[in-house]
Symmetry: C2
Subunit: 188 residues, 2 copies
DNA sequence: TCGACGATGTCAGTGACTGTCATAGACGGT
DNA sequence: ACCGTCTATGACAGTCACTGACATCGTCGA
């Protein structure tokens, strides 16, 4: 194997993140990304469906781990407890990646199109979590609402985690956000 | 006055919804929408920022009413009660539009790009609701989580409302979804 | 009557994305 | 050693969303 340099996909992802961070998403052309990776524009689109997707290659793994942990929870566990196991699994997956996650998130936050893509990934996560809960016997709309709540907790915790001064681990922040949500919804 | 036919903006929106429903979003070109409205492609882009935005012209009004109701709630009202007033205001705004809302939603649901746009509109709603709560003295992350929860309630209720067999009014469905969320989050 | 204005048309250009065909090394079978 | 197949890539033309610049032409106020 090796008529070409290895890991074309990874080189494209790295080049894209670097260029998006340097000069902005809109000011970067796919041709430039491909050139920096030593490839052509056409090859970029063979690896990634579009210009945004190159930043979201890892979202499938996140979804898989989250769902796996929820599905593996004891049958007796109530929905929010099962989802908590999923949140823990995701936090563990991110634990070593704060630096990368922070840089990537800065690029996404800076551009509306990228934010759209991020939101649909999270919506997809809500959808599969809802399905997972339903197959565990949770009825609607409790399943959807629990899944939405869990993802909201993740969003809030993640945002805090990558903040400059933050030192607490992601797992702790998800637990705190979850406790906060419970307080808000039971208090009113 | 009228050197041109009136309401070019409305004609474009109507033509776009019709064509998206007939042959699908991707199979419709902006030139075709403009032609059906008796205008040119360039004029379409003077009225709408892009091909998707033409379906979301009313989102500003929804945001305004929701926020207005929350901001107008008694100062003493806890966050979720204030948000409930917002949900009621939005339900009232939609009351007469079930038919239109349903057709529009079918188009959006059928296409990933349109779903992305819808999600970012909802995210924007969460953001302004969060700001509104914060200016009412609600701390973070309670403000964000309450806003996320309220919008999740709206999503779930709206989806049920436009379902074929559903007969209950939207306002009732939002109240039921809210009660369900409270049950889920307090039970675990 | 005239000039500013506002909504539209016209046209050329950029860049994302796609379909199609060509190329060249790797690999397995004979 | 040869040959056919497979796979990742390149080359190229084409469509369409979207933008900037300039022209046109009723309308309205001075």
């Amino acid at each position: 194997m090796g008529r070409w340099e290895p890991d074309a996909r990874g080189r494209l992802a790295k080049a894209a993140l670097a260029l998006y961070a340097e000069r902005g998403y809109e000011q970067t052309t796919v041709a430039e990304i491909a050139k920096r990776a030593g490839l052509t524009e056409r090859t970029f689109f063979r690896h990634y469906a579009d210009k945004r997707e190159v930043l979201f290659a890892g979202s499938g793994e996140l979804e898989g781990r989250f769902v796996g942990a929820v599905a593996g929870a004891p049958t007796s566990a109530p929905p929010l407890d099962a989802l908590t196991l999923g949140l823990d699994a995701v936090a563990e997956m991110f634990a070593d990646q704060r630096e990368f996650a922070s840089r990537r998130q800065a690029v996404i936050t800076a551009n509306a199109e990228l934010r759209e893509r991020e939101l649909i990934k999270l919506a997809s996560l809500v959808a599969v979590l809802t399905d997972t809960l339903r197959s565990r016997g949770v009825a609607e709309p409790a399943a959807s609402l629990s899944a939405e709540a869990a993802v909201a907790v993740f969003k809030v915790a993640f945002e805090r985690w990558i903040a400059p001064d933050e030192e607490r681990p992601l797992a702790q922040l998800t637990r705190e956000a979850l406790a906060e949500l419970k307080a808000v919804t039971s208090g009113a």
